[in-house]
């Protein structure tokens, strides 16, 4: 078992003929992901290294049996691409694209939630289930198979923590980068719920950062609904208020969204928060012994 992506994933890459889409799509295939199609309007009938390209996502679903979409199209077209995937019946939509306007996400979020679609991103590194499937830009070689679930708002920080875990001989069930934007398809809670239901995941590391209150909500949820142990790391203790720290969503507004508030909310529910990525990995190792 794993969550979001696995051996049943049949992947279509929206934007497969672009340089990023091609590079990462083929890299995902080389990892063992079942890449069944690409979509680029106007390029239907072509192929990318043997992968058939269709004009529409509906064609990729009908003719190639795609059930998961990876979106690499530029920000101004990403909203359209997400709607197209949802309406074509794709079950899992993962959007890597950065700088998607927040009003676009407002509409998409309201639209897809009642449909039961799983959406991850935008502005995320994707999802990797080691040994099964890699959908996105996570460098899979850093991670190994194992029992630790990892969910994070950041890409490279996730690699750092994964690397620290690997060095201690620990592997992962699934790594989910939920994205750094103010509105993303899956919250911490959505992913925690999936990890809780996954028998392979024995412990979860939640990697949060300043801005919003998703970490606080996750703390509440963990306290009320979860039996799988959770450890956490929060980035942004030194961040000044009112400044977006790289991610559009990583901003302290007034006095809300601070790292201290998040740490306290998590600790109030008995969730340990590591001071550095190294310490988090050590806490995981200690717990799993």
């Amino acid at each position: 078992m794993a969550i979001v992506v696995d051996n049943d994933t049949r992947l279509v890459v929206q934007g497969l003929t672009g340089s990023e889409g091609r590079f990462h799509g083929l890299r995902n295939r080389a990892y063992g992901t079942n890449l069944v199609a690409g979509v680029t309007p106007g390029k239907g009938g072509q192929d990318v290294d043997g992968v058939p390209v269709f004009d529409t996502v509906a064609d990729a679903v009908d003719k190639a049996g795609a059930n998961t979409s990876l979106i690499f199209v530029p920000a101004r077209f990403a909203g359209d691409a997400m709607y197209e995937a949802i309406d074509a019946g794709i079950e899992t939509v993962i959007c890597i694209t950065e700088h998607v306007p927040v009003h676009d996400m407002l509409g998409i979020y309201t639209y897809f939630r009642p449909k039961g679609v799983t959406m991850v991103g935008p502005n995320c590194p994707g999802v990797l289930s080691p040994g099964k499937a890699n959908v996105g830009i996570i460098p899979a070689e850093i991670f190994s198979e194992g029992v630790v679930g990892l969910v994070s708002r950041s890409g490279t920080l996730t690699y750092q923590i994964g690397h620290e875990l690997t060095q201690l001989g620990l592997g992962n069930s699934t790594i989910v980068g939920i994205g750094g934007d103010p509105i993303v398809g899956s919250s911490f809670i959505d992913i925690l719920e999936k990890f809780e239901a996954d028998p392979e995941t024995e412990l979860i590391v939640l990697v949060g950062e300043i801005g919003g209150d998703e970490e606080e909500k996750a703390a509440q949820y963990i306290g009320e609904h979860m039996t799988t142990p959770v450890l956490a790391y929060i980035a942004g203790f030194s961040a000044p208020p009112g400044k977006a720290m790289g991610h559009a969503g990583a901003i302290i507004s007034g006095s809300s969204g601070t790292a201290v508030a998040k740490k306290e909310a998590l600790e109030a529910k008995g969730i340990e928060v590591g001071a550095t990525p190294t310490e988090v990995a050590q806490l995981v190792a200690k717990r799993l012994k």
Partner: protein, 381 residues
Amino acid sequence: MDLYEYQGKELFKRVGIPVSEGRRADSPQDARAAAQELGGQLVVKAQVLTGGRGKAGGVKLAEGADDVEQKAKDILGLDINGHVVRRLWIERASDIEREYYLSITLDRGAKKPLFMFTTQGGVEIEQIAEERPEALVRLHVDPSEGFQPWVARRLIYGGGVTDPSEQKQITSIVEKLYRAFVEFDAVLCEINPLIVTPDGTVKALDSKFTVDDNALFRHPDVAEMRDTAAADPIEAFAREKGVTYVKLDGSVGIIGNGAGLAMSTVDVVAHVGGRPANFCDLGGGGSAEGVVDALEVITRDPQVKSIFFNIFGGITRGDEVARGILEALDRLDMSKYPIVVRLDGTNAEEGRRLLAEAGNPNIHPEATMLDGARRAVELAA
């Protein structure tokens, strides 16, 4: 992107929200000309992207060209919470009978726009929310439903507005504010105060307007409103170079790749007892050119004593970062900066080899993030 009051009012005007007539002035002479054009009793208002300008003496009543020019002289150059006043807005003074508050923001928790309205306006909304929460009407809008008149009714009846003419005017303003919020891709549109004049006219006396940076491609006219001179000069330079940079107040310059890792690096430097000088995210790509640009940006800060590169390559390649560092050492005067470099991930070995071969005594390789942070802090002391 935050807009000045007068810019927000310009957008209000475009959607039909009533505002007072006024003129922008960047000098006492401009102010004098504005006074002559507008005539009558006027308000000279500092244009700054921060609150509290009234208390700081940034808003003054004036009448006649001489008086307006003098008040403009008084206000220009004033330091309001670290923001120096360089622009003024001169507008017709309004008689105020009552002050209300109306705003729409993006509630990221609920993932919906949120209206807030109270008839207890004129003070900070946080204060009302804390002291008299029952006086504040909060109402989410379902984005798929959009604005419906009932939304305005809930706000005005909930807020206790009883005068029929006021009800009608506020309903119209609520609808137009929603339109401004959607049309201009705003994340905040605030009218505080929304005033009622003695003759019963409702209008926006102030504006706070924030537009989503990611949507500026749809609004080239709004994008042009950015006052590049108002930002911290190093941050403005970073924007020009396309470098993601936030100035902090310490001595250890920090460059990471990816927002989360860069933020975490800042924290770890502080955790081991150092004072971070900045946050700087090379981004996903991290080309050699990008590295040179980032170094050029962070070394503009005279407080920087050492530099810490913390790179975990995914898409970013370690060899490319190493090339960038070496190129920067060639092109920029970097002799006074010890540079601690921690490289891991994609092509890190190649990067470490390139740096070792260069044999520059200013480059200090470290194997882990924690050791790198400690070393950079030592070298900044």
